[in-house]
């Protein structure tokens, strides 16, 4: 396979200014991933700071309710800062430190990656600027305040669709300008090589743990894994440890108001291959190659493209990709606290919505692991507003 590619997908489609920085990053990453000291420091922080391993919880009441397969939840919502995003942001902040950078920047949609990066900056002593679309700042106001508390500057992006893709454009522009002293902490398995590989490396801890945990609990591997797919980092993090096994996998995209409405972020159901923000993958675009605006109730899934390795896993049919609509996700957002006492992030609620569809048709002996990628506190205000309550 061509370097930096997953089958036909991936690559390094960026302005020349950034190429040397990507080469430097690639080298630093390869060195770090072979460096016992770096790995031990990371392991210790994962354990004592992020709170790993996160539990694998048997959701017995949800299982009872769905009358089918046993449903387990991988509790990434219990990570420090409330989502899987810190697994990657902390790792990359440490890499930035190793490379001698003094500042890190990041894009954020739901605000979770912004909060995670600000946290990573805080404990490594780096300066931090976060780019966020004004539309996302509105629906994730709580996280904006958290980032500021953590000492980051939140720069509003009032361009284009005012969401995640525009925040990535601005981050890339900043990085191009300040590349000598700044590292760009990309938040998902997307962008130019080596980002998809680096982010997968730091997120793979999710699947490694889940594999051990399910074997301990059930003495066997699960039948299905389910994860939501924005850029695809929590999904890749869970799937990676099981790719060689006979385990079914489902990636859940944002179906928004339905595929036919055009208001969605289901890249596999509604997109075609394109080159965007550094890599070749599936993309929601018009006939002339301009990028379409997307819609999802969940800011973290509201993005026009998807990680290149997912495109590869899609074409090879190793993973089945589907979507949950806003309505289905909102129903799951309410179901989980009702039966399990857990408020999921709206992103993760898309994965729960798929479990609600899949589990009833399976046998009671089957096992599903759902990646509960984040907690829903950040979404409470937004959902209340949708339901007509101001809080």
């Amino acid at each position: 396979m061509k370097k930096g590619y997953f089958g036909n997908y991936g690559g390094r489609f960026v302005p020349e200014t950034l190429i040397p920085a990507l080469q430097e990053l690639d080298q630093a990453f390869r060195d770090a991933s072979h460096d016992a000291g770096f790995k031990e420091e990371l392991r210790l922080l994962q354990q004592t700071y992020i709170g790993r391993p996160t539990p694998l919880y048997f959701a017995s009441r949800l299982t009872e309710r769905l009358k089918g397969a046993k449903v387990y939840l991988k509790r990434e919502d219990l990570c420090h800062t409330g989502a899987h995003k810190l697994n990657n942001a902390l790792g990359q902040a440490m890499l930035a430190k190793v490379m001698g950078k003094k500042r890190i920047i990041a894009e954020t949609g739901a605000g979770q990656h912004g909060v995670a990066t600000a946290t990573g900056a805080s404990i490594t002593g780096l300066e931090c600027d976060i780019y966020m679309g004004t539309e996302d700042m509105r629906r994730q106001a709580l996280n904006v305040f958290r980032m500021k508390l953590l000492g980051a500057r939140v720069i509003e992006v009032n361009k284009g669709s005012k969401t995640l893709k525009d925040a990535i454009n601005e981050s890339l522009r900043d990085w191009t300008t300040n590349v000598t002293d700044t590292h760009y902490v990309l938040g998902t398995v997307f962008g130019p090589h080596p980002f998809p590989t680096i982010v997968k490396y730091f997120q793979s801890v999710i699947g490694r743990e889940a594999r051990k945990q399910i074997i301990k609990a059930e003495n066997r591997l699960p039948d299905y894994l389910i994860a939501c797919v924005g850029g695809g980092s929590n999904a890749m993090g869970l799937f990676n440890a099981f790719l060689k096994d006979k385990v079914g996998m489902v990636g859940v995209e944002a179906g928004g108001e339905g595929i036919r409405s055009g208001k969605h972020a289901a890249r596999f159901a509604g997109g075609s291959v394109g080159v965007f923000q550094g890599c070749k993958s599936y993309l929601l675009q018009d006939r002339d190659g301009n990028v379409l605006s997307t819609h999802s109730v969940s800011a973290g899934l509201d993005y026009a493209s998807v990680g290149p390795e997912h495109a590869f896993l899609h074409d090879s049919k190793r993973v089945r990709y589907t979507y949950a609509t806003d309505k289905e996700a909102l129903r799951a957002f309410e179901l989980l606290p009702e039966v399990e006492g857990i408020i999921p992030a709206l992103e993760s609620a898309h994965a729960i919505a798929e479990a609600v569809k899949l589990a009833p048709g399976l046998s009671k002996k089957d096992i599903i692991i759902v990646n509960l990628s984040g907690r829903g506190d950040k979404d409470v205000q937004h959902v209340a507003r949708i339901k007509g309550t101001e809080i």
């Binding site: 489609f13 020349e16 200014t17 525009d166 454009n169 300008t177 590349v179 080159v275 002339d288 190659g289």
Partner: protein, 258 residues
Amino acid sequence: MNSRIQDRFNSLRAEGRKAFIPYIMFGDPDTGTTESLILMLEDCGADVIELGVPFTDPLADGPTIQMAAERALAQGVTLKGIIRAVASIREKTDIPIVLMTYYNPVYKYGDVRFVRDAANAGVDGVIIPDLPPDEAHEFISEARGRNLDTIFLLAPTSTEERIRLVARASRGFVYYVSMTGITGSKLKMDDSIKRLIGKIKAVSDKPVCVGFGVSTPDQAKAMAAVADGVIIGSAIVKTINTAPSKLEKFLLGLRKAI
């Protein structure tokens, strides 16, 4: 066979002159004016014209060109339409025309089809800021076959290895980006530009032109002293939109300085 761009640089070199390369966004402020703007640029002494293709996500561009792209997209400008327009402009002028486009519109059009249609229409070269030569093997070989120049970029961060690679892949000229930054940023006039152009010249005899941040005749003059040509984009786009009556004088001033 030489391209129009190569011919132009050969005659400039013979006369000891430097190239003036203005950039405009196709369809900005509206599609009706682009053709007359191109003819005006030629009358004001442009050697090569860089025609911007609008894209929804122009990640190498600053606010001025971002907004120009938005205006052009709102007019319904597409890559296909631009190629058609160049074919019709070709009946009126022989000035070398280079398209500056992001890669996705080209990819969607199809590399092979794009190269064929653009070359047939009379486009002379292409600059694709998010397509480094490493990702452009097929594109380059298609373009060679149709005598369409592939202009790649170098930057202050470029290593010796990159300089060699990019210079080798470039045809027509090499585009040196004056700074680490996006179009329309403030130019930093220091020795680094001269030094890097020296490094490029050491491995290649292709013309090297400087762009990004050049906005005044004084800056253009300083750049012309160290390069084979000067590319001016945001400052022209801004003048077209905010002070069109001053455009001609501005262009003539730039021409004189270069």
